[in-house]
């Protein structure tokens, strides 16, 4: 996958998003664990991940981003929402929107003291009572606002086994999944969430574009690839139905290694179309110079794309129906 085509995710977490005097080791560690590249540009990368699954921008969700002993750290709803907006509607031309947001629930606020730094890390305050009250988690407040402003933006809650109430409320608010910090399979889980929920451009570049509506269509296509046997793609001529079918083929784990066979019925008569689909023996008609298995057999374990597929259905309906039902 090209580096530029990696999904761009936003991580909102008080510990991983904070700026420190040197490198934020907590952030470096979570990047290595989740196999994500840090693109925040507030520190020099101190590790190279060979096959990253995403590029991440980290945000503390609090003011100030870099706190020292004596500073008061406060949750920053407005600033965080502005950052989300800037990577959604207000992004640079040619840049993909946030593919996904990883959101912490508990944010420690309050005064940074030598004791809090010794216990929780540089620039981390000791926390207030309301920070640990699950009904007032800052992460839930953020989640509510994100869903209100950007309902298409998938949010994965980055938290350790939340209590039942938090889990229910997060789900109601629209979180698509939970990712437990420190979980052994966290990178695999994140990869799965990216495939299933994220707004990601086509990494091959064959379907070019970063518009939110296109990325939503690609996400629907990836989901369809995982769950259905037959699929109808509708659209005007030239809108890229075959490209989308090839994208589905590439993203179908059961069929990606099989062939992609395309039959364009728009250029064939009904009889030739049937012959293309079901095959023929040598000499069956004038131009039948060799036996042909037909596209249906050739597409075994892969995908058969019937371009303009409804054109001949009327005349060959029974044949087609028997074939599809008997697959």
């Amino acid at each position: 996958m090209k580096a530029g085509a990696l999904p761009r995710i936003l991580v909102i977490d008080d510990v991983y998003g904070r700026q420190v005097s040197g490198a934020n080791t907590d952030r470096s560690a979570i990047c290595l664990q989740l196999m994500i590249e840090d693109m925040t540009s507030d520190q020099t990368a101190d590790a190279v991940i060979h096959q990253p699954i995403a590029q991440a921008v980290f945000c503390r969700g609090q003011r100030p981003a870099r706190a020292v002993v004596g500073d008061l750290v406060e949750n920053d709803l407005q600033g965080t929402l502005e950052l989300i907006d800037s990577g959604w509607h207000g992004r640079q031309p040619g840049t993909a929107p946030w593919a996904l947001v990883l959101l912490d629930l508990r944010f420690k606020s309050g005064r940074v003291t030598p004791e809090s730094e010794a216990r929780f890390g540089e620039g981390v305050p000791g926390g207030r009572e309301e920070d640990v009250d699950s009904s007032t988690f800052f992460g839930l407040r953020l989640l509510e606002e994100i869903q209100r402003r950007h309902p298409q933006l998938p949010v994965v809650v980055l938290s350790d086994a939340p209590r039942e109430t938090v889990s229910q409320r997060s789900t109601v608010l629209g979180a698509v999944a939970f990712l437990s910090k420190g979980q052994a399979s966290a990178a695999e889980k994140l990869g799965e969430y990216l495939r299933h929920h994220a707004l990601v451009p086509d990494p091959t570049g064959k379907i070019a574009g970063n518009s939110i509506s296109l990325l939503i269509a690609l996400r629907s296509a990836r989901r369809a690839a995982l769950g259905v046997e037959s699929l109808l793609i509708r659209g005007e001529r030239g809108t890229g139905k075959e490209s989308l079918a090839r994208y589905i083929h590439c993203n179908d784990p059961r069929r990606a290694s099989g062939p992609f066979i395309s039959v364009d019925s728009g250029t064939l008569t009904a009889d030739l179309y049937a012959s293309e689909l079901f095959g023929h023996v040598r000499g069956a008609f004038t131009s039948a110079i060799a036996d042909s298995k037909g596209a249906i057999v050739e597409a075994q374990h892969g995908i058969l794309f019937l371009d303009e597929g409804l054109r001949h259905v009327g005349r060959r309906e029974n044949q087609a129906r028997r074939t599809l039902h008997g697959r």
Partner: protein, 177 residues
């Protein structure tokens, strides 16, 4: 040192809140936020999934070795648990004066009922045994000369930490009889 790390026990309700807060600080703020990501990061580097600057590796190793300092907090939490959360403390709050032997009998009975209903002894033992398994794997990692053995040991630390967090989370935080 172990007592120094323990938070002061105030009056009972305050002590229960403080105990829950200590659990959150241990499991969420330290184990989940800091210790386990370092463990997995070290495994990724050693398993050649990533390359890191030497100073990052040193910092990760130092972070993993914090187990030596903070790992026993799990034992302290389990030791304090019965004292703080047991309903026997409610007997002391009864307004009427009780003869000392009656009071002691009621305290023991309250604890026995609570223990029997919620299998407290067994749950506390789960915390201790999970801690011991983390500790064993940690010592094995610390003593490993070969990368392969060290990765196996540290994977053991990670999975047993999950068991430790689960065991601590399974301790009832209300004292219902």
């Amino acid at each position: 040192m172990r007592r120094a790390l323990r938070a002061p026990l105030h009056e009972d309700a305050g002590a229960a809140i403080m105990w829950r807060r200590r659990v959150a600080e241990f499991t969420h703020d330290w184990l989940r936020n800091r210790f386990l990501p370092r463990v997995h990061a070290w495994i990724a580097i050693t398993g050649a999934d990533a390359e890191a600057r030497p100073n990052l590796v040193e910092t990760l190793v130092a972070g993993i070795r914090e187990w030596d300092v903070r790992g026993d907090e799990a034992l302290m939490l389990s030791e304090d648990y019965c004292e703080i959360m047991s309903p026997r403390r409610f007997i002391d709050d009864v307004a009427i004066h009780l003869p000392s032997d009656v009071g002691e009998f009621l305290r023991r009975t309250a604890f026995a009922c609570w223990n029997a209903r919620h299998r407290i002894d067994s749950r506390v033992e789960h915390v201790r045994s999970a801690h011991a398994r983390v500790d064993t794997n940690f010592r094995r990692w610390n003593a490993s000369a070969r990368a392969h053995e060290a990765v196996i040991a540290l994977n053991g630390v990670a999975s047993e930490c999950e068991a430790l967090i689960a065991a601590l989370s399974a301790l009832p935080t209300t004292a219902r009889l």
